[in-house]
Every structure is written in C-alpha cells, then in structure tokens.
Amino acid sequence: MRVLVPPVLLVVLLLAAAVAATIGAAGIPFGRIAAAFGLAPGNPALVDRDWLVLWSIRLPRIALAIIIGGLLAACGAVMQGLFRNPLADPALVGVSSGAALAAAAMIVVGDRYLSSAGVTLPLEALPLAAFVGALASTMILYRIATREGRTSVAMFLLGGLAIAALANAGLGLLVFLADDRQLRDINFWMLGSLSGATWAKVGAIAPFLVALAFVLPFIARGLDLLVLGEMEAFHAGVSVERLKRTCVVLVAAAAGAAVSVSGVIGFVGLVVPHLLRLLIGPSHRLLLPTAALLGAALLVIADTFARTLAAPAELPIGIVTAVIGAPFFLYLLLRQRALLGP
C-alpha cells in the first residue's frame, strides 16, 4: 500500500501541471498543447501563439509552483521533525517572515545605499538575504522552544508568534521608508505570489530543491529517532548536534529560497506532512520525499485557483493557501489541546 503512494502522487502532480497549463486568460486545450510541443499536427498560426504563452508565461509559473510547493512542504516536514511538533510551518512561526524582512530590508536599505554608490543589487542578493533572515529566526526559535533537549509546544507557538510579530513590525517600518516601486515589492513579500515567474527565477531556486532531495535521505533516520527525544536519539547512536544543525540550515535554505521568489506562502508546510502521516505513517524515510511531491501538486492547484478565481485580476496565492490552511490549523490545534494544557 505505502509503496504505491509516491507513484500515485507523481501522477497527481503531472495531471495537476497538465491541467494548469490549459487554464488561463487564453485557454489552451490539451490538443493544442500537444500541437505546440510539436507532438501533433495543428494550425500553424495558433501553434506559434500557444507556444509563446506556454513557454514564456505558463510553464515557468507551473515550474515555480512545483519547486516552491516542494520546498515549503519538505521544509515543514523537517521542521516538524526537528521540533517534534506537528504544528510547525515556516510561515506560521515567523521563519518566512524573518526571511521576508531580510529580503525587504535588502530592497529598501540595500537599494538606497548601493544605488547611491552606483552599484546595482545583484540577483543573488535577495535569496541570500532571505536565507540569512530565515536562519536567524529558526535559530532564535530553537533557543526559545527547546530546553535540555525537550521542546515545549506552547513555547514553540508563542515564541514563533513573537518572532513573526517582530518581523512583521520590521516589514511595516520598511513600508514606511519605502518609495512607490519598493512598496510594490514589499507588498509582494507579505502576501505571497507566483506572478512574474521567469525561467531565470526557476533556475535560481531549482538547485535548492535538488540539494534538499539529496540531503533528505541522510537525515530521515535521525529525525525518526529524534521523535524519542534528543537524549534518547543520542543513546541510539545519532549525532544529535550535527543533525540539528543540518536541519536548521535545511529549513532556512528551503524557506529562504521559497520566500525570495514568491514571498510568504503559509500552511503548505503544515497541511501536507499531516495529510501524509495519515496516509503512510510518520516515518521520515517516506514522509520527506512524498511531502515534496504532494506540496508541489497542491501549490500548482492553489496557484491555478489564484490566477483564475478573480480573473482578469489575480489573488495572492498566500490568501488561497491561508483560506484552506488556517481552518486546518485550528482543527490540528483542537486535536493537540491536551499538549497545550486546559
């Protein structure tokens, strides 16, 4: 049963991507998509136009949704393992906000000082800043929530709340300082959107997903044992400090990369691992890769809604995921009531 889950998810992802490619301001049915790829004969006039829409607008956006969905869901699964807590999500506990704050600070402050010095901001500056911001918030959160190898659920959520509030206050301050163009950029961090997807952006964050896929198998066993507690994981042979450092860097890199191109998209990292645990159990060996697959599929679907529900305008995708994810979070919270006290 369990072994069927990854291939089924892969099929779901491919179907979602194919359907998403047909939907948009200019509808392109499956037949014309095949023609545009040169797989079937078609009307030459339409083929060129369809190809242009697909290649320069729709496909990079779908690719971006796949990568970001994969990053966010895997990031959520790793965080939940690291904090031994099913309520972890990078956007919920301030990790994404920290990344967005650092990226926005780079836009406003960096822009102001660098352009007066005659230097333009390099393309890599934003992902790097987002990574540093995510790393700082994850490390602070870890310090707050964990004491002597035990993680307190209440301290984790409240500490995350405080970090998110602080980062959002910082973002507000930057809004105050920003000019019109910078303001649009910052707004984009705060709400989350996949609009403006280009192959260059896809290329910039694809290596993060590849790196993540490469590292995940090595931390799966450690995360399984960490479920017993840090001391018990050490007794069973895990290099706990090294595992924790690896996880913190992974979480920060995944959240930072995702935030740097799409802003703060919440709840993907929360919902996806939870659904999968119901399906395949909590073992990280299967959970981490399948989370990336399901996260990718869900974000492709959510983004299709985001760009069609209010057409010709676009909803920020962060709003779509929040509408689905926030009630789900409440449901999880109620189920975890016992852990949080009366």
């Binding site: 399984d224 507690g229 069973a236 290099s239």
Partner: protein
C-alpha cells in the same frame, strides 16, 4: 577479569550545587548493579555520566579501556544501551516501528526476529501495529524497554556483550511486568552484559542485583552485596526509616517492610 565500565573521581556541578562528588565505580562483565538512594541523591546524574550524556566536571569514564569521549555516538550505541525514565513520542509511530528503531539501519530477517522476540519478552506481542501514542504509560515504557533490548542485541552481534543502563525501569509497571524486566536484565547479565539499574524498590534491587550501590548526597554511601548493604543502619542513615529490614526465613536474604514506620504515619497506631 578486566573491568568493562570504570568511572573515576566523577564530579558534577550545576551552578553552585554539587550533584556528584568524587564518585568512583568499576563494573566487570556480566555484573549487575542496582543504584539506590533517596530522591536527589545523584543516581540519574551518575547514570547520565555513565551513558555519555553528561560530561563530568572532573573525572572520566572508560568503556572497555577507552574514554567515553573517544567514541562517536554511533560507536557508543553499539556498546551500550540506555532506557530513560520517561520517553514521550511526538508522532504516532507503531510499537513495532519504535522497537525496530533500536536496530538503527539494520534490516532483514534477523532484525525482524529480534523485534518479535523483544516484543514477546515485554508481553506486547499483540501490540505491534498499535500507535505508541495510544498505549498506557506502563505499556509505552515496556515498548521502549523492548527497543533498548533490540539495540543491545544488535550491538552484541558485532561487538560482544555490552552495557545496559536502566533508569527506573520498573517505575510504571505492575508487579508481573516488574518481574519480567528483572528477568530480562538478569538473562542478559548471564550472557555477559553489564547491567546498571536505578531502582527505588529495595526488594526488587535485592532480587535483581548481587551488588547494590547506595548514593546519598552525591557520594557513595555503601557498596556491597544486598546482605551487606540493606541494613537497618543504612536505611536509618540514608532514608531516615527505622526498623524496616527483615530476613526471608529460609534463605536469610534481607527484605524491607517499613512496618515500624507505621508509628510515623497519621491514623491508628
């Protein structure tokens, strides 16, 4: 015979409080030692030092002649297994998955058999597919004991008999399962495994161990056979309980029944 586990002049301080003060202990292969003493005597701290969790301020622990610090976590896990006092699992792993965690990366028929045997030994044979989070406290503890037994067996297969450290292994268990734990530990010792167990029940300690070490205020108060150690004088000195030691008639082994202490309790004399 060469000692397996040797602790020399261990000092542990947290802030201004001295938890262990110049404690020395040497354990041979197959030896079973019960650590007893009042709450806060330093028993758990000593066990944490012996397991490598806690690096002492002064003194060192040697396992098979090498200091604990010279082992990596994985190598250490092949030589010693530890049962903590209370383990709470964050996600609903099945009991079989938890017990299998003791085998590390090991797979295959041999591991399957080890897991099954360990589950049977702690009387959880029919619980293998249950989520551990749905079990009672005592049942969870037995599952973790089974996991530790699997780890010990896997280590034994590659490095020979190792060390088994148990922090109050019987605390949440009914009498039947307390005796099962004692029997499991004794059978491992018969194969050459060195066992250290923290116990509060002195009668269980006498049943399990041929050597009892009494800790009091971070120091070793006494160290010897149950016969030598479990005396009225020790109980009075360490626990402040008088006239509690009797003798099993036929065997002459000591037992503790704090009958005299009734005087101190409220209610009828």
């Amino acid at each position: 015979m060469n000692p397996v586990l040797v602790a020399t002049s261990i000092v542990v301080r947290i802030g201004a409080k001295t938890l262990l003060d110049d404690v020395a202990l040497s354990l041979g292969p197959g030896e079973v030692v019960a650590l007893v003493g009042p709450n806060g005597a330093g028993k758990s701290t000593l066990l944490r030092v012996l397991s490598g969790d806690l690096v002492p301020l002064a003194g060192s622990v040697r396992l098979n002649g090498r200091t604990l610090a010279s082992y990596g976590p994985r190598a250490l896990a092949g030589h010693r297994a530890v049962l903590s006092q209370s383990v709470s699992v964050a996600f609903p792993f099945t009991v079989a998955e938890i017990v299998r965690m003791g085998a590390g990366d090991g797979r295959g028929r041999r591991i399957d058999d080890l897991v099954e045997a360990a589950l049977a030994e702690v009387d959880l044979g029919n619980f293998d597919e249950r989520a551990i989070t749905t079990l009672s406290g005592g049942e969870q503890q037995r599952a973790h004991f089974a996991r530790v037994l699997v780890q010990l067996a896997c280590g034994e297969a590659t490095h020979g008999p190792g060390v088994l450290l148990l922090d109050e292994p019987t605390a949440n268990l009914d009498l039947r399962h307390q005796l099962d734990v004692i029997a499991a530990a004794k059978s491992r010792a018969a194969r050459g495994v060195t066992v250290v167990a923290i116990l509060h029940d002195l009668n269980l300690a006498g049943l399990l161990a041929e050597r009892i070490v009494v800790l009091n205020g971070g120091r070793i108060d006494s160290d010897g056979t149950p016969d030598q150690v479990i005396t009225d004088a020790m109980l009075e000195r360490v626990l402040g309980v008088a006239d509690a030691v009797g003798r099993v008639p036929a065997e002459g082994t000591p037992f503790v029944l704090p009958h005299a202490a009734r005087k101190l309790l409220p209610g009828k004399p």
